[in-house]
């Protein structure tokens, strides 16, 4: 495996004005999904004054970034990237983010809820719910208010979760960033209603019609670099109520110093390391993940601790402004 830095450098070269032409052709369903996503992103660039791409460093938002690089080439994407840093993410994520930012010369803002950080909000002590509320949802709303963004790209997909399945591609938010699932604008053809009043905003989901499998096939076909945590490797993990948590730094409370055991694991989603379960897997490449997904029988949100409280919990979080 080439190092991640080398992959990122090679990747960035593809978007230089003097790029070497790529001749690889996508399968038809990915061609259609890619064209749809590019169409949506260009529509936003044309219709909104101050868009932003919410970049979470995960595979979906890295695909989103890839699509933006393609949609506006040879220009850079005409909007900023925003990362909400909870201060509890895997260390490899920040490394990857900064590598990509430097290689592609991206306009990227990292936002931290300083008040939450000062109060030492912590998933172990404060609890999952409060941590997520303060360091993710509150932080996002603060960053959006400060930036006065009118369109916010997110990497959400309709196959992820039941309440997402009903969300529009252009999803209206009122001045308080609240989503009202019962009062959504009908969305017909490719004619997105981009009209807003002062202070209102639109969350835009170009990957709405993609599935997890589509994402991995696209990453494989398009050779998009992703955070190496997605690929299987021996990692130190502890078992917490049946969920494998990786010991990413010394903030992780351990029962005994020798508690962590080394297992070959990978992650299907990335976020705060204490809240993200690993799966045992031998898939060391995007292709291997595609093969694994075709065989697997577990949905990707199973590894996300915050979604478990109740089947309807995502809907509640979304109404409050969570992505």
């Amino acid at each position: 495996m080439p190092s991640i830095d080398a992959s990122i450098a090679r990747y960035a070269a593809r978007f230089r004005p003097d790029r070497t032409p790529r001749t690889r052709i996508l399968p038809p369903h990915l061609q259609a999904l890619e064209a749809e996503a590019i169409h949506i992103m260009r529509d936003v660039a044309g219709a909104f004054g101050n868009p932003v791409l919410l970049y979470s460093i995960g595979k979906d938002s890295t695909c989103l970034l890839h699509l933006a690089l393609k949609a506006f080439w040879p220009s850079k994407p005409p909007f900023r990237l925003l990362h909400i840093d909870s201060l509890w993410e895997f260390r490899e994520m920040a490394r990857f983010r900064d590598g990509l930012r430097d290689a592609l010369d991206l306009d990227l803002t990292v936002y931290v809820n300083r008040e939450g950080a000062d109060r030492d909000i912590n998933p172990f002590i404060s609890g999952t719910a409060l941590h997520t509320q303060v360091m993710r949802t509150d932080a996002l709303l603060q960053a959006l208010d400060q930036g006065r963004y009118d369109a916010i790209f997110g990497g959400g997909r309709r196959d992820e979760e039941k309440s997402r399945a009903k969300e529009r591609i252009f999803s209206f938010r009122d001045r308080k960033h609240v989503w009202d699932p019962r009062n959504q604008r009908p969305e017909l053809w490719r004619l997105y209603n981009t009209r807003l009043a002062e202070g209102e905003s639109m969350r835009v989901f170009p990957l709405s019609n993609w599935t997890e499998l589509d994402i991995w096939q696209y990453i494989s076909e398009e050779e998009i670099p992703v955070v190496p945590l997605y690929f299987a490797a021996p990692r130190p993990v502890v078992d917490r109520d049946g969920t494998l948590i990786m010991v990413d730094d010394d903030r992780m409370p351990l029962a005994r110093p020798d508690e962590p055991e080394t297992k070959t694991v990978r992650f299907r989603t990335l976020g705060c390391y204490p809240l993200t379960g690993a799966v045992e897997s031998d898939a060391r490449s995007a292709d291997a993940i595609v093969a694994e997904l075709i065989a697997t029988r577990s949905s990707e949100r199973a590894g996300r601790l915050i979604d478990h409280d109740d089947a309807a919990s995502m809907e509640v979080k979304k109404r409050e402004g969570y992505f």
Binding site: T23, P74, P186, E187, W189, Y192, S299, A312
Partner: protein, 623 residues
């Protein structure tokens, strides 16, 4: 003309194009169960989702001990409790042959708008019928919307066949009934299939209890439906979404090709202006292309610097789209606020917005009987054939020829809600033969002769607020100052010019439109026009404002609380309205929308007539 030119071949020959389909049925037809069954039997349901399903089935389920597959789909908390689906939800699954995107739309009758939304993107529809009930008026309604929205292929799932003892006769009778109601509609294929969604009969797996049925299962049929033709054989069309200018030498027109093919060297035009150019480069981030086709998102560079912006349509020079400002279209109305002729709406078509208003409603379609009937307005979920006029010329294709270039949405200009969906039938030529005749004497000159500035003083407010009283005083004082004014008053106009109009919302809109046009003529004649009209709707007042020049419209809100107006009741109208003798009375059973930013507000419960008059005169005489 493009047929002979080679387009870059798609190297991929493996499985998997995308079929978008719509499912429709009544609340109890078992639609969610059918989709759940499709997902479950094609193994698109994960183990943890199944565990969650088992838990939910115990909590909300309606099938006793079995998994209630419908619960896989009903996404929103409240819906899960009510047991009905209320909005459009999208589902994804694959078979060995292709990828499917299902738009799951509710069957309940007040949700026509959701069905139209799901249908707008679908290539095929699965229509459910309960075998015990047969073809209902709801079935007919769903089928008509599919037809209207341009769906070509129908799969008729005759569901709950287990509850009629797997009866061949019932299946056949329902198929025959259905063919009768679709006689006049133009579907490419209709395939009836006997199904038990609950037990999985003929959904993914072939049923053993319907040995008399030799046709395809639902999934087999869905795999065989030809995907939407990519509109390759139509002439080239591409709305420009974004102009790409990284440096002065590169001016790319970014957009998705919606019809036809384009190649380097092709002659194209900007549709609305007719400016010609030749295609110099076709760019994607991967590589420069020699040609591209419908469905692809590309960036086109032209050989000359023509005037092109977002919203323009690039088109084949030798086969240009129709361009018109007057259109005939079918409209599905999606708002509680009815569609009213003359009211301006915002129209989005392609990548452009323009203002549009309905000139007239030719008829409304009764979707239960498919009868046409005259209509003065369209209510929520109504479908009507209309003539529209647009502020800017529109380049389009008839909807039956190309959905993307023949569709539009209408947006309320005040709350930005999407209120209507339209499908263009054809352009009307009438407007092209009428050209405005400019006179030799302009309004500025006429006003200068009178030593005044011509304008409209528009007084709006509830009946009894004092509009007419103040207006008469203003008129008198202006005359005494030697100025030339004219008073247009609601009651007087309704005795002559507008004697054919009543007090429905549609008639109120037309009333104000006519008054606005008359006021405009008087302003052209150099007069100060004082208008005293309840004019309850913001959009019509804005319409009049937009008919006039920037500072020619002075909106005066004659504001008195409703109970004050009711106490005054100078014409005894409130009394009658409250007694039910007058319908649609503003403030009683018809809404009044106060101005948001009037030039002047007069609280007539706090001012004398003289004070109110002086404030208006101050405004006019000062300027």
């Amino acid at each position: 003309m493009h047929d002979t030119r080679p387009v870059e071949p798609a190297a991929w020959t493996g499985s998997g194009d995308v079929l978008r389909l719509l499912t429709c049925g009544s609340v109890d037809d078992g639609k969610s169960t059918l989709i759940g069954r499709l997902l479950y039997d094609s193994q698109a349901v994960f183990e943890d989702q199944l565990r969650s399903l088992e838990r939910d089935s115990r909590r909300y389920g309606t099938t006793g001990e079995d998994h209630d597959l419908a619960l896989l789909l009903d996404g929103l908390q409240a819906e899960r409790e009510q047991g009905i689906t209320i909005d459009v939800a999208y589902r994804f699954f694959r078979s060995d042959r292709r990828t499917f995107i299902i738009a799951d739309t509710p069957g309940h009758e007040q949700y026509t708008r959701n069905m139209a939304t799901g249908a707008s993107q679908a290539d095929a529809a699965v229509i459910l019928v309960d075998a015990r009930k047969g073809v209902l008026s709801q079935t007919r309604r769903h089928t008509f919307i599919c037809h209207l929205m341009g769906i070509r292929h129908i799969v008729l799932a005759v569901n709950k066949i287990d509850l009629v003892d797997y009866s061949h006769d019932i299946y056949q009778r329902i198929g025959d009934d259905y063919r009768r109601i679709t006689d006049a509609m133009d579907f490419a294929t209709i395939v009836p299939i006997p199904v038990s969604a609950r037990f999985g009969e003929n959904v993914v797996h072939r049923g053993r209890l319907t040995p008399w049925y030799a046709g395809p299962t639902v999934i087999e049929r869905l795999e065989a439906i030809p995907a939407a033709t990519a509109a390759d054989d139509l002439p080239f069309r591409m709305p420009v979404q974004w102009v790409n200018r990284p440096d002065p030498d590169f001016r790319g027109l970014a957009g998705t090709i919606l019809a036809g093919q384009v190649a380097v060297g092709d002659d194209v035009v900007v549709a609305a202006s007719g400016q010609p150019a030749r295609v110099d480069r076709i760019v994607t981030a991967d590589r420069d292309r020699t040609a591209a086709r419908a469905g692809e998102a590309v960036t086109v560079l032209l050989d000359t610097n023509v005037d092109v912006a977002r919203g323009d349509v690039l088109a084949a020079a030798r086969d240009r789209p129709e361009v018109s400002r007057l259109l005939s279209a079918d409209i599905v109305w999606m708002s509680d606020q009815p569609l009213l002729p003359s009211r301006p709406y915002l129209m989005r078509i392609g990548s452009t917005y323009t203002q549009a208003s309905i000139v007239r409603i030719k008829h409304e379609v009764d979707i239960d009987t498919l009868d046409r009937r005259p209509a003065r307005q369209l209510g929520l979920n109504a479908i009507g054939r209309c003539e529209l006029s647009t502020a800017a010329p529109i380049a389009f294709e008839p909807y039956v020829r190309n959905r993307d270039l023949g569709s539009f949405i209408l947006i309320d200009r005040f709350n930005n809600q999407t209120v209507g969906a339209g499908m263009i039938r054809f352009g009307l030529r009438r407007a092209q033969n009428i050209h405005a005749q400019a006179g030799l004497v302009g309004k500025a000159r006429r006003a200068a002769m009178k030593q005044q500035k011509a304008r409209v003083i528009w007084m709006t407010g509830l009946s009894g607020a004092g509009k007419s009283t103040i207006a008469r005083q203003v008129d008198l004082h202006l005359t005494e100052h030697g100025l030339h004014s004219y008073l247009l008053d609601g009651d007087n106009v309704r005795h002559g010019l507008n004697q054919d109009l009543g007090f429905t919302d549609a008639d109120r809109v037309e009333n104000i439109r006519r008054v606005g046009e008359v006021a405009k003529l008087f302003v052209d004649a150099g007069l100060i026009v004082i208008c005293a009209f309840i004019s309850p709707f913001r959009s019509e007042r804005r319409l009049v404002r937009e008919l006039l020049g920037a500072d020619e419209f002075v909106e005066v809100f004659v504001d008195a609380p409703l109970d004050v107006c009711r106490r005054r009741d100078p014409k005894g109208l409130y009394k009658k309205a409250l007694a039910g003798q007058i319908a649609n009375f503003t403030g009683i059973d018809s809404a009044y929308e106060p101005p948001e930013t009037p030039e002047l507000t007069l609280r007539t419960d706090q001012l004398t007539v003289q004070e109110a008059t002086d404030r208006i005169l101050g405004l006019i005489l000062r300027a």
